[in-house]
C-alpha cells in the first residue's frame, strides 16, 4: 500500500473506533473494544522489533512490567501526577530496552539466543519485583481510585477507550513511519539479510538498538494503561509469560511486519476467545490452550498471517 492509502485506512479505522462510544452505551461492549485495543497495542509494540526487525522477543513483559511498576510507584510513593508518570514510565521502559539491546545486540545474540535472553531478563525482573518490598513484593501494588482526567482515570469506559485509542494511533504512526521511512527500510533489510545489509553500509547494531527502544517504549505505555485501567499490578502479571505471549500472538495471527496486522490479529483472537467462551463456558485453561493451537495452525498454514489473505498480488 502507498503512504496515502495507509494514512487513509488508519484514519478510517481510528474514526470508526472513536465513533463507537457515541453509538454504544453497553459497558460490556465498550470493555471488549478497550481490551482488544489494548491487545493491539501490545502487538504493535512487539511488531516493531519482531515483525519489522525480525528479532523475536519472548520476554516483552520486561518492558510492560517496567512501565506498569514505574507509573504505579511514582504515583503511589512520590505523589507524581499521572501524566508525568506516564512519560517517566515510557522513558523507563525505553531505558530497559536500551540496556537489553546494548547487551544482546553488541554481543551478537540472534534468533533463539535473543529470545532466550529476553525471557531470562523478564524472569530476573519478576524475581526482583517479588523480592523487594519497594515494589510490593509478591502481594503487588494497588493504584488508588482517583477518577479524574488529571489522574489519568476516567469515570466512564469511553474515557479509557479514547486513552487506549490514542496510544494505538501512536502505534499506527510508528508503523506507517517504519514502512515508508529510510530507518524502516534499514530495519527490514537487517531482518531479511543482516550480512548484506551491513555490506551495503547499514549500521546494524544502531538500527536494532533504535527498534528495541521504540518497541520497549510502546510496550511500557501498554503497562501504564493496564494499571490505570485495572488499578492493580503484581510480579506475575507484570513480568509473567502471559503478557509476552499476548504481545507476539497478535502480530503472528494478523501478519508480522505489516501496519494493520497487530490490530487485525487482536480482533481475530478476541472474537475467537469470546465465541469459545460462549460455546464451552469459562473453563480454566481452555481459552489459552486454544491460543496455542491457533499459534501452531497459523505457523503451519498461514505463515504470513491474516494480512496475507489481503495481499492479492502475492497470492496470484
Amino acid at each position: 500500500m502507498t503512504l496515502a492509502r495507509d494514512l487513509v485506512v488508519a484514519g478510517a479505522i481510528t474514526a470508526a473506533i472513536a465513533a463507537v462510544p457515541l453509538v454504544v452505551t453497553s459497558g460490556a461492549v465498550l470493555n471488549a473494544v478497550i481490551l482488544t485495543l489494548y491487545a493491539a497495542l501490545l502487538g504493535q509494540a512487539w511488531n516493531i522489533l519482531g515483525g519489522f526487525g525480525g528479532q523475536f522477543s519472548f520476554g516483552h513483559a520486561v518492558f510492560f512490567g517496567t512501565g506498569a511498576y514505574t507509573a504505579t510507584i511514582l504515583q503511589l510513593r512520590f505523589g507524581m501526577n499521572a501524566w508525568a508518570a506516564l512519560v517517566c514510565a515510557v522513558a523507563a521502559g525505553a531505558c530497559v530496552g536500551a540496556l537489553i539491546g546494548a547487551l544482546a545486540f553488541r554481543y551478537g545474540l540472534k534468533g533463539s539466543y535473543f529470545a532466550l535472553v529476553t525471557l531470562a531478563f523478564a524472569e530476573v525482573f519478576r524475581i526482583l519485583a517479588t523480592t523487594f518490598t519497594f515494589t510490593g513484593a509478591g502481594v503487588g501494588l494497588m493504584l488508588p481510585l482517583a477518577e479524574s482526567a488529571a489522574a489519568l482515570q476516567f469515570t466512564t469506559k469511553a474515557g479509557y477507550l479514547y486513552l487506549i485509542l490514542a496510544l494505538v494511533v501512536v502505534g499506527f504512526a510508528l508503523h506507517i513511519w517504519l514502512k515508508h521511512s529510510r530507518f524502516g527500510a534499514w530495519l527490514t533489510a537487517v531482518r531479511d539479510n543482516e550480512m548484506s545489509a551491513a555490506a551495503l553500509g547499514v549500521d546494524v547494531i544502531r538500527v536494532k538498538q533504535g527498534a528495541i527502544l521504540l518497541s520497549a517504549a510502546l510496550m511500557a505505555a501498554g503497562g501504564v494503561f493496564y494499571v490505570q485501567y485495572l488499578h492493580y499490578i503484581d510480579p506475575a502479571i507484570a513480568y509473567g509469560p502471559a503478557v509476552s505471549v499476548e504481545a507476539l500472538l497478535g502480530p503472528l495471527v494478523g501478519g508480522m511486519g505489516t501496519v494493520f496486522g497487530p490490530l487485525l490479529g487482536a480482533v481475530a483472537l478476541h472474537l475467537l476467545s469470546e465465541s469459545m467462551r460462549n460455546l464451552l463456558g469459562d473453563a480454566p485453561g481452555l481459552s489459552l490452550a486454544l491460543y496455542g493451537i491457533v499459534l501452531i495452525v497459523m505457523v503451519r498454514y498461514l505463515p504470513s498471517g491474516l494480512m496475507g489473505l489481503f495481499d492479492w498480488r502475492r497470492r496470484s
Binding site: A120, V124, I127, P241, L286, L288, A289, R300
Partner: protein
C-alpha cells in the same frame, strides 16, 4: 558467613539438585544442541511426565522407579510423533517457526493440563521419600542420591549412543550437515524424530527421579525451562558431559545463592536470581559454553 557444616550441606544439596537439572538438560542439549531445534515445550513435557508418574503410582500402585521404563518409552513415543507430525511439518524448516511451534505446544500442554487436572499441586507419598543418609555430618535424601546416580548413568548412556551406534552417527551427521546426510541416504525426518523422542525420553527419566521428592502442577515445568536452558548454554550446546557439569554448577549456584540470600535477609529468591544472572552472563560472554567449541 555461615559456618562450614552448613556450607557443606548446601553444597551437597546443590549437587543433588543439580543432578535433576542435568537430567532435564540432557534431553534439551540433544534436541537443542545437536539438532539446532529450540524446544520451548521441554518444561511442559516434563510436567506431563510428572503427571504420568503420579497417576501410575496413585491409580496403579507402580513405584516411580519401576515406572521409569514405561515413562521413558511413553515420552519417547510422544516426542517422535510431535516432531514427525507437528513440529517438522509446521516449521517449514525455519528456526523462528520451530521456536513459535514449540512455544505453542507448551501453551497447549500446560493449559490442557490445567483444564483436565485443575491447578491443584499433587505429591506422592512413598515409604522412602524422607529416608536420608549422613555424609560427613550432612543429611541427604535417598531420592536425591538416586537422581544423582541416574544423571550419571543417563549421561553415560547417551554418550555411548552417540559415539557407538549407527543412530548416533546419523544424528551427528545431521547436526553437521543436513543436506549431506540426506544425500548419503539418511532418512532425515526419521532421525530428527528419533532425536526428539530420545530427548523427551530423558525428560521421562528425570520425572521418575524427581517425583518422589517433588510435586506436580500444570505450571511446574516452566520453572525448569529456563534452568535447563541455562545448563545447556553453560555446558556448551550438544555436550552431554557439559550438561552434567553445567547442572552441578547451576544447582550449587542456586543453593549457595539461596544460603547467602537468607544470610543477607533477602530471602531464598536470591538463589533463583543467581541462576538467571549466570545465564545472561554466559550468553553474553561465552555463548559457546564452558565445554563447547567456538562455533
Amino acid at each position: 558467613m555461615p559456618d562450614f557444616s552448613i556450607l557443606f550441606a548446601a553444597l551437597l544439596n546443590g549437587l543433588t539438585q543439580g543432578a535433576v537439572y542435568a537430567l532435564i538438560a540432557l534431553g534439551l542439549t540433544l534436541i537443542y544442541g545437536v539438532l539446532h531445534i529450540i524446544n520451548f515445550a521441554h518444561g511442559a513435557a516434563l510436567m506431563l511426565a510428572l503427571y504420568a508418574v503420579y497417576f501410575l503410582y496413585t491409580r496403579l500402585g507402580i513405584d516411580p522407579y519401576l515406572a521409569l521404563p514405561l515413562i521413558t518409552a511413553g515420552m519417547f513415543a510422544l516426542g517422535y510423533l510431535l516432531q514427525r507430525f507437528i513440529i517438522g511439518r509446521a516449521s517449514h524448516g525455519r528456526d523462528e517457526n520451530i521456536l513459535l511451534v514449540t512455544l505453542g505446544l507448551a501453551i497447549v500442554m500446560e493449559n490442557l493440563a490445567l483444564f483436565v487436572f485443575r491447578s491443584d499441586t499433587r505429591t506422592i507419598e512413598t515409604p522412602y521419600a524422607f529416608a536420608t543418609v549422613e555424609i560427613a555430618g550432612a543429611l541427604i535424601g535417598i531420592p536425591k542420591l538416586a537422581a544423582l546416580a541416574g544423571a550419571i548413568v543417563v549421561t553415560a548412556g547417551l554418550y555411548i549412543l552417540m559415539v557407538r551406534t549407527d543412530l548416533g552417527r546419523a544424528i551427528r551427521a545431521l547436526a553437521k550437515e543436513r543436506q549431506g546426510a540426506r544425500l548419503v541416504g539418511i532418512d532425515v525426518e526419521h532421525v530428527l524424530a528419533m532425536s526428539f523422542g530420545i530427548g523427551l525420553a530423558c525428560v521421562g527419566a528425570a520425572a521418575s527421579f524427581l517425583m518422589p521428592s517433588y510435586y506436580v502442577n500444570p505450571t511446574v515445568g516452566s520453572g525448569f525451562v529456563l534452568i535447563a536452558f541455562t545448563v545447556v548454554v553453560l555446558g556448551g550446546m550438544g555436550s552431554f558431559v557439559g550438561a552434567l557439569a553445567g547442572g552441578f554448577i547451576v544447582g550449587i549456584a542456586e543453593s549457595l545463592g539461596g544460603l547467602y540470600g537468607m544470610a543477607l535477609g533477602l530471602g531464598e529468591n536470591l538463589g533463583q536470581l543467581a541462576i538467571f544472572v549466570l545465564f545472561i552472563a554466559v550468553l553474553l560472554i561465552r555463548p559457546q559454553g564452558l565445554f563447547g567449541a567456538r562455533a
